[in-house]
Symmetry: D2
Subunit: 292 residues, 4 copies
């Protein structure tokens, strides 16, 4: 396929590289151009602007947040204006349900395809083509993107034809991870104030009932109080909980645990935690208990 790829951050760089490897013809664009070099060495073309990445069958965006996607799509970067008719915008960023609805409407008006396909996985999974991909969009456009997903991930899950469904699933997934972190934070604050060894406790949990990677990874970080360097920084976690709560507000779904997480992230950031991993919210439970 002839593909454009916009956004060569920690996730996007590995993904674009995997597309090149899989034999696709990939034109990349990044705001700070030095990141394109490595890709060009591997066989990608470099575009001078977003429009220059919009000439193929599909353009993929992998950007930090709603603002970045909005300015690429609607702003001066003119993605929508540059994409040819019937080509597909494949949005893989973690963005709001509301923005995804806007994008769907704008692309429909321009007779373009729009598919939302946010991913689960950290940069190492992106580099190893081991992402889990959550997809929703019109069947034809989605089918057309399947070779892309095969090059990027280990498994693809389709959630129907409304693109914003994929965004909601992704946000709810991050909510679930943050909820697991919060529960571990409280449990560890409790048992460790009683004198129980945190590492033995986590070892027990994750070799019995809580064998999932989420508990293993975050349980270890919390027991070690190792929140730097951030794998996923607190402000990104805060943003995703905010977006989950915003979607829930529109749908009129109270999320008391989501609200608790909201307050935890605000407290963490108010107390200087901007550069910490989002799992540092667990530390607040210890602090509340006079243990930090």
């Amino acid at each position: 396929m002839r593909l454009g790829f916009v956004g060569l951050g920690r996730m996007g760089a590995g993904m674009a590289s995997n597309l090149v490897k899989a034999g696709h013809e990939v034109t990349v664009y990044n705001r700070s151009p030095e990141k394109t070099r490595a890709l060009v060495e591997r066989g990608a073309h470099a575009a001078r602007d977003v429009a220059g990445a919009c000439g193929g069958d599909a353009v993929i965006t992998m950007l930090a947040d709603d603002n970045a996607v909005e300015s690429v799509a609607f702003g001066e970067a003119r993605l929508i204006a540059s994409l040819r008719s019937n080509a597909v915008h494949l949005s893989m960023s973690t963005i709001s349900v509301a923005l995804s609805e806007c994008l769907a409407a704008a692309h429909a008006k321009a007779s373009q395809g729009y598919v939302a396909a946010p991913v689960f996985g950290r940069p190492d999974a992106a580099a190893a083509a081991k992402l889990f991909i959550v997809v929703a969009g019109a069947p034809e456009a989605t089918d057309a993107c399947m070779p892309i997903f095969q090059a990027l991930g280990q498994k693809t899950f389709r959630f129907g034809h409304r693109p914003e469904a994929a965004n909601l699933v992704k946000l709810s997934g991050n909510f679930l991870i943050a909820a697991a972190i919060e529960s571990l934070g409280e449990a560890i604050a409790l048992v460790s104030k009683a004198g129980i060894d945190k590492h033995e406790y986590i070892e027990m949990l994750t070799s019995t009932l809580f064998t999932a990677p989420v508990y293993k990874n975050y349980g270890g970080l919390i027991a070690d109080r190792k929140f730097e360097p951030a794998g996923f920084a607190a402000p990104l976690g805060q943003k995703d909980i905010r977006l989950a709560l915003a979607a829930a507000e529109t749908l009129r779904v109270p999320l008391p645990l989501g609200s608790l997480l909201r307050d935890r992230f605000l407290a963490l950031m108010a107390q200087g935690g901007d550069n910490l991993d989002w799992s540092a919210i667990a530390q607040l439970a210890a602090k509340d208990a006079g243990q930090a």
Copy 2:
């Protein structure tokens, strides 16, 4: 070993049977005597009262709650009064930290051993000798119980010499399970109000980030709204959250997620949910959202 076993409920029956199978000489007692029959057929002795089960190396109690254990230990049943010096009371029930401390003191005064060893696992795991056992107590007494644990479980985790540590670990584990249920309840309420298929959603979660049994089992129950028959009834869940909060109160550890769970269980029971599985608290998130 010569063992007594008090409490042949859904968990205890399978456990006592496994002890017989393992070659121990087991004398069983249950308040309603008809439950002893099956055990006797397999080779156990039947005691007429609790005291009658206290003549061996150790007596195991596997009872419903603090009240039951208290009345067996301190009340007319006279376990403490009947146990011989240096014999061990192995308490495997899920009881409060405070009662465990009381028992430790009382047994010490009577020159008896006391080991706390609550378990993770449902009745089928008890019957299959696949329990996870969390143990704490004086090293000698604990060592003496190891053959018992080998007959009952797949893995044993030792948490030092203060028996109540094991009880706290067990309670915190149930808190973590309930927290996972609550998070699933909120996430499912959110995505399903947006029209996303609950079963496909759970299938995605549990084949990616949330592969642990807790998410698989409860995710399925919640998506199916299948809360009867109860595997673990709501009042038992409420009790364990109450005991976790009580221990946290003594230690001065705020548990905001624990508090949320407390309120969920009270709401569930206030609204007629006494016979439902504890995972039915997930249904309250849907109800709050006008979806039930």
Copy 3:
């Protein structure tokens, strides 16, 4: 003073009328023109559009929400474009801190004054010139507005020169009222499930420690379960809590009680409460307890 007045809803009609009574020359505008009639009979002029109300010393806006104010100020209604230099926009609506900041910047750019002066009080207080007025803005512009406040309210409180401070004070005040409602809802759910008479209970509270009007008014409504007709409808309450939380998020101030209120309002509206008074959130505590 020569004044324009935009927005003749339940609050605005009484306020504009009081300005006429006080001898000001008032030009009124309302989207649905039939509401201007009564004002004209009392001596006001009617403007054909917002611009027509912008010719005097100041134009007052008293509108439902951010959207309404935005479209009047920045949209086709062209308030900012129509106001002459040095005239003042006196914004008395309950709007967000963020919009108030935008308005301040836009008016400054146009060399116009901007004063924020949201009010506490219901329509009857507006009609009786008994409002409490919370004001912030540049000293000169604010001083110029004092005769207006004297005509509208019983007392004016100044909060410095940054207009958005007044908006935040107003939003925090509505948060405090909603918090009092929630606390009454829980307390009444508790005592009435114990068989205590709700009305005697409220009578006791409001003649001892809780003599403030908030407790008297809402205590009575809650005890009577009289939530229709709405004095202040649930979606307006939800909006104000949302704006308070948004301001808090920007400032990084966790508000756990605010979060609880957010979830209550969403639950109320999800369950069909759009036309109820905002005090109907109190009913949710009873419902949770199986009492409704």
Copy 4:
């Protein structure tokens, strides 16, 4: 009346003194006997033990908590054993609903009267005979106590014949006060982080919507961050919230705001706040926001 009075703490001393002043024959008892001296000088008799204060028409207990009342009533102090038939135990302490039910049963068995009459008011109100008294009990016994209430308080509220109703009303009242404190804490954290003057803010609130003494007193303390010396210490507040939640649990009434308060008090005490006024929980909102 011939009265016994047990418990000459900060509240009890003033109350007993007022009973003497009103002409009753009062026999006082306090665990540390030096506190009886001042009362004897004013005309009271001193009893050597609790039993010595049980010879009259009624004995009043005004003690710190459940433990103190339990040990006086059921323990070695032998109040129940010493009170003559048909005499009344008037319990004015803030105790649990459960203990009040126990006392009611025990006194009924002993053919004695039992009336619960907890009070609202601080030591200065007790000294000035300005307490608000909440009463419940059998009509005859309650009627008999009316002269006592006239000597102690400014107003008496009767809540039927079940004594524990009065205790629940009292606990719910303290819950409402703590809720008002929490709401003020969050509101003040919010506006003061935005640079608004806390004292002007409280002045505005308490001269408009929140004129009740609760807001005036605590608003001032919070704005001043003046939490020492404690008028009502944090552990007493924590105890009352605990008792309110315990009563709610028995009745199956979820109290999410009560749960939030529970966590606040535990956090305050975990962080060294045992000697602070209970209104210091308000400081935690500021701390969460990075402002303390």
